[in-house]
């Protein structure tokens, strides 16, 4: 390992996103899907990127993986192990993907080849990055990986085709392929959203175990605050293309400083809470392409005043490691204002 790489490991977060913006041209106009998002994930850390549809969370993840296709435009700075990756050529990306950063998607059926046995697909994921590995060795390693992710007995199940597996098992195969080359960063985009609740619990346990075992930097993209509470160390909340709050998981759930985060937490039905009227958030998030002056949450916010519409509030510290993009952030954390 080179000295630079060693320094890189020590000094830089495994994944660093700075001022990321993503635009898509739609009918002669530009739709801004992500408007200057910054966040980072360190080794051994799980960060949940939380938001509703249209918040920009999934587009941010795709941009981090170099997967936003033209005519989409990506700007800002994304660093993996300290190295800038935006603007890399496709062949450079191919050597990075899987080896440094890997991704698991919501629907494993669209990512798996239906006509190949699962062991072959995992083995190919290994050989893509290291052609010196013999087919035989790759196969052995693939079986071991399948065993590790809980496809058991792996020796027998390895010859199954994707359609012979349940949804949870298919997601396990995707995870095996993602970790096949020991990446530093694993991005999981709604990995359990399509699964039943009992299966979801199993897959989350697996991700948690692998993250600790391999010291992964895990970026979990989800809309489900229950999942976040169970797995994340830190939380980044996105709304309408911007990060509106970030902080340690306990701070976000118990001392949220942004009115949106507070409202979202109050509106979620809880298994452990008796029947009662849920605190709904009026209105809906802005449509893609809809330009809202100032704070995008202002039209739905009980605290909004003229200052909020005048300009976009910046992310500012409200406590240690805890930042919010709301001009009332300090007063909300201090308990002087309750949205």
């Amino acid at each position: 390992m080179s000295a630079a790489a060693v320094f890189g490991d020590a000094l830089h977060p495994a994944l660093q996103v700075i001022g990321l913006a993503v635009d898509f041209p739609v009918e002669r106009a530009l739709v801004r899907a992500v408007a200057g998002a910054s966040f980072s994930v360190r080794r051994g850390e799980t960060v949940a990127l939380v938001g509703e549809s249209g918040s920009g969370k999934s587009v941010s993840a795709l941009a981090t993986m170099g997967l936003v296709d033209a005519p989409g435009r990506v700007s800002g700075d994304v660093r993996i192990d300290g190295h800038p990756v935006l603007g890399l050529r496709e062949d450079q990306w191919r050597s990075l993907r899987g080896r440094k950063v890997a991704m698991v998607f919501q629907d494993p059926m669209t990512s798996l080849n239906p006509s190949h046995r699962i062991v072959r697909q995992v083995a190919e994921a290994i050989r893509v990055h290291d052609a010196r590995v013999s087919k035989h060795d790759a196969r052995d390693r693939a079986v071991a990986l399948l065993e590790r992710v809980g496809i058991v007995p792996a020796a027998a199940r390895a010859r199954d085709y994707p359609h012979q597996l349940s949804g949870g098992q298919r997601q396990r195969v995707m995870i095996a392929m993602a970790i096949a080359n020991q990446p530093d960063v694993l991005i999981a985009d709604e990995p359990t959203t399509a699964l039943d609740v009992t299966t979801q619990a199993q897959v989350l346990d697996l991700l948690r175990d692998l993250q600790q075992e391999m010291g992964l930097a895990l970026l979990l993209i989800t809309h489900d605050l229950g999942v976040v509470a169970g797995i994340a160390d830190r939380v980044v909340v996105m709304y309408a293309g911007r990060v509106v709050e970030e902080g340690p998981v306990d701070a976000i759930f118990t001392r949220a400083a942004h009115p949106y985060t507070r409202a979202l937490l109050a509106s979620v039905p809880r298994v452990g809470a008796a029947r009662g009227t849920l605190r709904a958030i009026e209105g809906s998030p802005p449509n893609p392409g809809e330009v809202v002056a100032g704070c995008a949450f202002a039209p739905r916010c009980p605290l909004a005043e003229e200052r909020c519409v005048a300009r976009v509030p910046e992310l500012r510290p409200v406590a240690e490691f805890h930042r919010a993009a709301c001009i009332f952030g300090d007063q909300i954390t201090a308990g002087r204002l309750a949205p």
């Binding site: 509703e52 549809s53 349940s166 949804g167 949870g168 098992q169 039943d196 609740v197 009992t198 299966t199 979801q200 619990a201 199993q202 346990d205 809309h223 489900d224 605050l225 229950g226 999942v227 976040v228 509470a229 169970g230 998981v249 306990d250 759930f253 409202a263 979202l264 937490l265 509106s267 979620v268 039905p269 809880r270 298994v271 452990g272 809470a273 008796a274 029947r275 009662g276 009227t277 849920l278 605190r279 709904a280 958030i281 009026e282 809906s284 998030p285 449509n287």
Partner: protein, 324 residues
Amino acid sequence: MNGVGVPLLAVEELVQRFPARGGHRVAVDGVSFTVAAGETLAIVGESGSGKSTVARIVLRLLDPTAGRVVLDGDDITKVRGRALRRVRPRMQIVFQDPYSSLDPRMTVQATVAEPLRVAGRRGEVSTRVREVLDLVGLGPELCDRYPHELSGGQRQRVGIARALVLSPELIVLDEPVSALDSSVQAQILNLLVALQKRLGLTYLFISHDLAVVRHVADRVAVMHLGRIVETAPTEALFVAPAHPYTQALLSASPEPDPEVERQRRRIVLRGDLLDATEVLSGCRFRPRCWKATDECAATDPALAVLGGGEPGPARHQTACLHPG
């Protein structure tokens, strides 16, 4: 509201078999329940539980292999033609996905008016459409809009307005908030509860989401592989679940509270549903159950009242040899 007089909906010993490779697959296997007027019964289950098949049979969209569906005392299982057209307006459905369930070429006005036109009540269209749009919180200015011009929440309100327009007694809600953004879910759930109070509606609420169910249901029936394995008034079920499957579902439902999640002792089930579909004798949950004994392989448990006594809609019942 429970158990007085004739229930609005009674389902008796429903069975639904579908042809499958090498024979048939039993999607629903002897399901019975009642729903009183003005009440919400939630049917909870994971994929493959048969909950959506039950909903389709109740709505007469599917002919059951066996069993009866009784609406307000009348057996509607076999009604056809004119008699069926008289029954249809009394039961309506709200679908999961307001994106795919609305016709993209029809305006809000046309979408909501369609059931009236089909029922031959064209004369009432203009006043009635405005009335139901108002009920669901949509202004008349939305009448000329198309689905793509609406937000997800507005679309689901249109779906609810369309279900209300013929003044039904029973509404089947099939995962009505599962496709919606979290910040919009609560709006729609509160709206459904308010409409029920105001119009005296009866709901059959199909869902996989226990947290949602706890907030809207009076009673809950938990389905597993085509059977009801537990049924109880909502609070009793959540406070003291008796069937191991219900306990596992509850323990696997994530709670948006890091402290609760850290303290949680999760019941992790072995394997998945596929392992249970091949069980031919005894309890079908047995391959995944941590309480299973030899007795469970020999006996197929039927629903029984916890602590004994006469069955009834308000009683806590479970189909397990080792409940609690």
